[in-house]
Symmetry: C2
Subunit: 228 residues, 2 copies
DNA sequence: CGTATGATTGACATCTCTCAACCAATGTGG
DNA sequence: CCACATTGGTTGAGAGATGTCAATCATACG
């Protein structure tokens, strides 16, 4: 029996043209692979939650649009991440492709697991769900800290942890995405980047290309709660 | 076969003196009931995650203490809520009793579900986990909104939803708890309460006793993103 | 009644937002 | 190859919100 991790894609994956079926897993045999262009919507808040998704390549985001047009980004999802789990029948957030990305869509999780083959998947999904809680809690912790510099430092460390060992952090999202994720404005994000660069904590040869020069200091900045 | 909801306690529950065993569910047969006094620690960040908990009575909180002594409250847990799920072997947050409360502790969830009787529970736990994601996401959304008044309004509505229909909201936590949950200071919480009262959106006969006078307006305040 | 604790209020400093201008990189057409 | 526009990012000045520190008030408890 296969598993949700065994989707035939390993590591870096090229986007595929059309949808493709997977026949291995029992509740996941209808996994459909789709490519999304940068900025494309995957699903919208309020839509019926028919599917959940796994990222194969690229980065996706979930967010909520507030009444006055403001946007709050909830999370960025990396290759291997699952999103779109919903306890009830509809999505509570909007999902969009940050850059070009490829996803595999699985049919909605049934609340009552019925046959034996599904149990293995339930166990696996449970693990993913716990990771989702962890992710959301860390995000809340990040947002609760007051100082913008601290938020950005936390974001960079979090980002770097997805691809450790690389010389440069290549930001796939723009300043607006980061701002909405951190709950600040793009100007504040920009100023914080500039300050980190000025203090020689990071280097920024290009706006979306960051190198961490002093990781220990970055971590200290991330851990401090406010500007005081 | 029983379920995790079938813990023999229904609705309001009186704290019991000592631990008590439950023999019904297979992975949950070792559910231990314990009473915690107000302010007592339930587990600490970094402890081995041996158990997860269900609230029977009272309210518990999970939080993280930052390096400089600052505290960020992650969530409040109400009767019926589960907390303490961890994907890895140790707690990432500290859990404490807000007021006097009674909990039932279940042995740690195994990652690999082995016997058939556990499957039913896995399905149930998955549902709880999804609720946990929902809760954490809503909290992050609350924190991302900038204006303190909006955060407090959101908190009051969230609080009220736990006991709808009551004339008064009886706050079980103090101002510091609320402040740490919303990521602001107690002074700002206090000022926001005062403003809501001044604007006749709420009434506050006592510091911990709130009545919502104009729910529609409170919702509007909660939805606006900033002070602008 | 005095004390202790929690909550509120006030004054001022600081941070972030807002609005505006400017800069850099990119692409287009002449 | 060079204007030119467009987009995304940065910088600046002033306004507004929240933090900080301190004093005051309210309540509960001896």
């Amino acid at each position: 029996v296969g598993s949700i991790d065994d989707d035939g894609f390993d590591g870096a994956v090229h986007p595929v043209a059309g949808p493709a079926f997977r026949e291995s897993d029992v509740p996941f045999r209808h996994g459909l692979v789709h490519a999304y262009a940068a900025g494309t919507g995957i699903y919208a808040e309020g839509d019926g939650a028919e599917r959940f998704y796994k990222v194969l390549s690229g980065v996706a985001r979930t967010c909520r649009y507030l009444g006055d047009g403001q946007r709050q980004v909830d999370a960025f999802y990396w290759p291997g991440d699952l999103f779109g789990f919903e306890p009830d029948g509809q999505y509570r957030l909007t999902a969009e492709a940050v850059g070009d990305c490829t996803l595999v869509a699985y049919p909605r999780l049934r609340c009552v697991i019925q046959d034996a083959a599904e149990y293995r998947c339930a166990s696996q999904l449970l693990d993913y769900a716990l990771r989702g809680i962890e992710r959301a809690q860390e995000h809340a912790l990040l947002l609760g800290r007051r100082c913008a510099l601290s938020k950005l430092a936390g974001f960079l460390l979090q980002y770097d942890s997805h691809r450790p060992g690389h010389r440069f952090i290549e930001l796939v999202m723009n300043r607006q995405d980061i701002a909405d994720y951190l709950g600040v404005t793009i100007e504040t994000v920009s100023r914080s980047f500039t300050q980190l660069e000025h203090d020689a904590v990071i280097a920024m040869p290009a706006a979306k290309r960051i190198a961490i020069l002093d990781r220990a200091r970055l971590q200290r900045i991330a851990e401090q709660s406010g500007g005081a």
